[in-house]
């Protein structure tokens, strides 16, 4: 059925992303290449000139017309990830991502990729804790084709038994590659399992091997019906197309796909952690390694942006605190990083250090704590704050260089924040973070009680 309230289409002569460099003055006063941090910067001005419409069946459509390159990026985000799973079917979200390429009613097995690639297109997908996203990148002429391919699988995914079996083999190899035979993968899996006792973030997106062995067609059919309904999806198209024509095409093809009962909300919240937790991973390895994770805020909490700025100060580049201290001054680490997750539910604030030969993880661990303590007490410098603002802003602009990057960012923000327009606000939110905010979040989250530590204990390959 068709939405009776047709969106008013504004004819746009747009640059899709107008990311104008800060204030006119900055450009002019540029003679002396900035070695000082003297100018308080205005955040980069980002305007997404998009057309948004929600179809009668609940599918949210976001169109970003951009004629800079004769291509389009066509992306579908489903609000489903490993956080929607339950014990016994862990990994099913990611498995469904694979099965979406294995045939539907009109285009049978192999035909999705076969037709797309032989038409000059490329497709891929990813699954995270919170979302599953698909994209097709193709020349502008391919829009009608990808609409047809994507509606076919949303309407009538086949889940053929033969392909369920071979695809499960593929996914198990993916698990063996990126977790079972990967030190980093194994460490992260262990950290999540250690830090979460109740919430689904405890299991890997790839799923436990025994669950992969057990997932059957019935599980998949049910999962597909619930989570791949149009009312649980967002469609984003960015690139070289005409908005009016595209919207008509989308209506014609998506309107007949019925909505389903909305998925049950994820109820479980992780209870407060009451004391430090530690785990070891014994594995054949050359160098000791450590992961330290603290429970952080969810994306809906205001602390998110102060933590993003702090993450940048701690971890971005060779002038960052972690690199300076551990790699350069102590010469104890091969690398050291911070990675603060953005999750619908509270994610982890993680530190990772790989030690150099002859150095123990204890040195890395103590260095992290001492850096965090000093920030909680004394904060950071004005220069560090300014640098983080500039660096986050530049990274932000970098991520919007391609039509794929733009569409992907819109989808991600839409799923995480419930509103893609948050993209326009983020640079300002980074710039608004003060030293007091940094001190406050450092005190609030980085406590011993809230800490989870995974240590790699290297074993020799002779066993």
């Amino acid at each position: 059925m068709r939405d009776p309230l047709k969106t008013i289409l504004v004819v746009m002569t747009t640059l899709a992303l107008t990311a104008l460099a800060p204030v006119a003055g900055a450009r002019a006063a540029k003679k002396d290449a900035a070695r000082k941090h003297d100018t308080a910067k205005e955040p980069v001005d980002i305007k997404l000139d998009v057309t948004v419409e929600t179809l009668g069946n609940g599918l949210k459509v976001i169109l970003l017309e951009d004629h800079s390159v004769p291509v389009i990026s066509y992306q579908t985000f489903f609000r489903v990830g490993s956080r929607n799973e339950v014990a016994g079917i862990t990994g099913i979200s990611h498995f469904m991502e694979h099965m979406m390429f294995n045939g539907a009613e009109k285009y049978g097995p192999k035909e999705f990729d076969g037709i797309l690639e032989s038409s000059g297109g490329y497709s891929n997908a990813f699954t995270s804790n919170d979302m599953t996203a698909y994209y097709e990148d193709i020349s502008s002429d391919g829009l009608a084709l990808v609409v047809d391919l994507d509606t076919d699988r949303m309407r009538s995914l086949a889940l053929d038994q033969k392909y369920l079996e071979s695809e499960m083999g593929v996914v198990m190899e993916e698990r063996r590659l990126s977790i079972d035979n990967s030190i980093g993968g194994q460490m992260w899996e262990e950290l999540s399992a250690l830090a979460y006792k109740a919430h689904p973030y405890q299991w890997p997106v790839l799923g436990w091997m025994s669950d992969l062995e057990g997932i059957n067609r019935e599980d998949c059919v049910k999962y597909f019906r619930t989570y791949y309904a149009p009312n649980n999806a967002i469609l984003i198209v960015a690139g070289d197309f005409d908005t009016k024509e595209a919207l008509e095409l989308i209506h014609r093809n998506y309107d007949p796909i019925p909505a389903q009962t909305p998925p049950a909300p994820v109820r479980t919240r992780e209870p407060e952690q009451l004391g430090e937790r530690r785990a070891e991973v014994h594995k054949v390895a050359e160098l000791p390694e450590i992961l330290v994770g603290y429970h952080g805020p969810g994306v809906s909490e205001a602390d998110l942006f102060a933590l993003a700025v702090l993450e940048s100060i701690l971890s971005s580049g060779e002038s960052s605190r972690l690199y300076r201290t551990m790699v350069r001054d102590m010469e104890a680490a091969l690398y050291a990083y911070a990675s603060f997750g953005w999750g619908i539910d509270p994610d982890l604030l993680v530190f990772g250090v790989k030690m150099r030969p002859g150095h123990e993880t204890r040195e890395g661990e103590e260095a992290i704590y001492s850096i965090l303590d000093s920030i909680a007490k004394d904060g950071v410098t004005a220069a560090e704050l300014e640098k983080a603002g500039n660096s986050l802003e530049a990274d932000f602009v970098r991520s919007m260089q391609t039509v794929n990057g733009k569409a992907g960012k819109i989808g991600r923000y839409e799923v995480l924040f419930g509103d893609y327009r948050m993209i326009e606000q983020v640079p300002g939110k980074y710039r608004a973070v003060t030293n007091e905010d940094i001190k406050r979040v450092a005190r609030k989250y980085f406590s011993e009680k809230n800490r989870n530590v995974v240590t790699l204990v290297p074993e020799s390959s002779e066993g």
Binding site: S140, R328, N404
Partner: protein
């Protein structure tokens, strides 16, 4: 608005969802200012308006193939040391200057080249060029930084042993290319890096960093005329010539009579890495376009023959691809995949069968056209960002690919016939005379490898 790609198309919206080859729009490089300074430095400047940023890329025609025997890793260590102090600016101060404006500037080394590249907000182009000029022309090479850097490189090389994918590839390339400089990893070996002195680094810089032969590409939201002025101001007075380096020999295109198997024994592996291949060819080969098509058909996208048989039909692996590594003087061809230990032999056999098939029979017209449309269709995505364009400018100049290479790329692909594909497959993809490198738990898989060829076993701890 300026477009990255110019478009000439009569592309009416098609009623049926089919994309024909004819409908694909032409691809053009954006207008590029091309200059040669009096000292010989080649400069390419392109204005784009997509994002308020600028990419700089400086190319030096000397890479790891120039490393003296026993000091493998010298070119890479020299490149890294450029950023550890230059023109009186210390390593930490330099990082601070770059990162405080949200910029990036990094060095990289390949077999044939060294580059210093990064991107900045467009307003910071003068800063980018200041730093670039200093690191290229007047690096300080402080002794304390050198010792620290060596320590990091050695630790990194020790840590590399933890990565099965990387080890398998490293051994494959070494076993295949043997004594040729391309056989040795760009990063070098633990023992060779330990032998490198600060004098070696300074000498490598002096011998190879000179304006003639170097290329500077600047692409972004800038004024081209002004950018050229800024370049001349900093690089105009640079003088000196490159020391005539010994010519790197061409990689001999010999085939391996019969098959060699090298097993890397990693007793804790539950998944086996597989590398199958032989000597390849160079970047300027007249077989370039037929090879693009043949390689894509064999192991390119999700619908390639190897992907179809190994992943889609049998679920044996998460990924498989075929690789044509093409450098100035040659390279290698390889099929890269992995599978659980239990299906090691089955996967090798399927891969070998596909190598045989593409050699022994012509592809259908449908498969050929599909492959060609796939390659052509994705080509515009290779020229989308400032960094992509800068990379193309350097590549076209360094390899002497000639004007119009990008513009003629699609017709080059379209003109390849099934007979061409079979011809280059016979020439470059070998199913019986080849090298197979396997990283595996050999105790578990030894019996599977019987009858495949002569096996040499290396313990993972014994790899140099």
């Amino acid at each position: 608005m300026r477009r990255i790609l110019s478009i000439f198309a009569l592309g009416a919206l098609l009623a049926v969802p089919v994309v024909s080859a004819a409908a694909q729009k032409d691809v053009k490089m954006p207008p590029c200012g091309e200059h040669t300074l009096e000292n010989g430095l080649r400069v390419f400047i392109v204005e784009t308006r997509e994002v308020p940023m600028v990419t700089v890329r400086f190319h030096v025609p000397a890479g790891s193939a120039f490393d003296p025997r026993g000091k493998e890793g010298l070119a890479e260590l020299t490149a890294t040391m450029l950023m550890r102090g230059a023109g009186g600016i210390g390593s930490e101060e330099m990082a601070e200057m770059i990162e405080s404006v949200g910029g990036s500037l990094e060095t990289g080394t390949g077999p044939d080249e060294t580059h210093i590249a990064g991107d900045f907000m467009a307003r910071d182009l003068p800063l980018a060029l200041d730093l670039l000029a200093k690191v290229v022309m007047t690096p300080d090479f402080p002794a304390e930084e050198f010792e620290r850097e060596k320590g990091i490189v050695v630790s990194d090389l020790i840590g590399e042993k933890e990565d099965p994918y990387g080890i398998a590839t490293k051994v494959f390339v070494k076993e295949l290319l043997g004594d040729h400089p391309y056989a040795d990893p760009v990063k070098g070996y633990i023992d060779s890096v330990e032998k490198i002195s600060l004098q070696d680094v300074a000498a490598f810089h002096k011998d190879n960093f000179a304006p003639g032969g170097c290329i500077l590409a600047i692409v972004g939201d800038i004024d081209a005329g002004n950018a050229l002025k800024e370049v001349k101001k900093r690089f105009g007075a640079w003088s000196g010539g490159r020391k005539a380096a010994g010519e790197i020999a061409a990689v001999e295109p010999k085939t391996i009579p019969g098959r060699r198997i090298v097993v890397i024994d990693k007793p804790d592996a539950t998944q086996s890495m597989i590398r199958i291949g032989n000597i390849g060819t160079d970047r300027k080969t007249p077989d370039y376009f037929p090879l693009e098509v043949a390689n894509s058909m064999l192991g390119g996208g999700f619908t390639s023959r190897l992907m179809d048989e190994i992943r889609v039909n049998r679920g044996l692996s998460y990924g498989v691809r075929s690789v044509m590594n093409k450098n100035l003087k040659g390279g290698y061809f390889g099929v890269f995949t992995f599978t659980k230990n239990q299906t090691l032999r089955e996967t090798i056999d399927v891969a070998l069968a596909e190598l045989g098939k593409i050699r022994n029979a012509e592809a259908t017209g449908e498969e050929l056209e599909g492959t060609e449309r796939y390659i052509s269709g994705l080509f515009p995505f290779d020229i989308e960002t400032n960094a992509d364009i800068a990379q193309w400018m350097v590549t076209l100049e360094f390899y002497g690919l000639g004007k119009g290479f990008v513009e003629n790329y699609r017709s080059g692909i379209d003109n390849v016939t099934s007979a061409d594909v079979q011809r280059v497959a016979e020439k470059y993809f070998h199913d019986s005379d080849n090298l197979i490198v396997v990283l595996t738990n050999y105790a578990e898989t030894a019996s599977q490898l019987e009858g495949l060829g002569a096996v040499k076993v290396i313990k993972v701890d014994d790899i140099r």
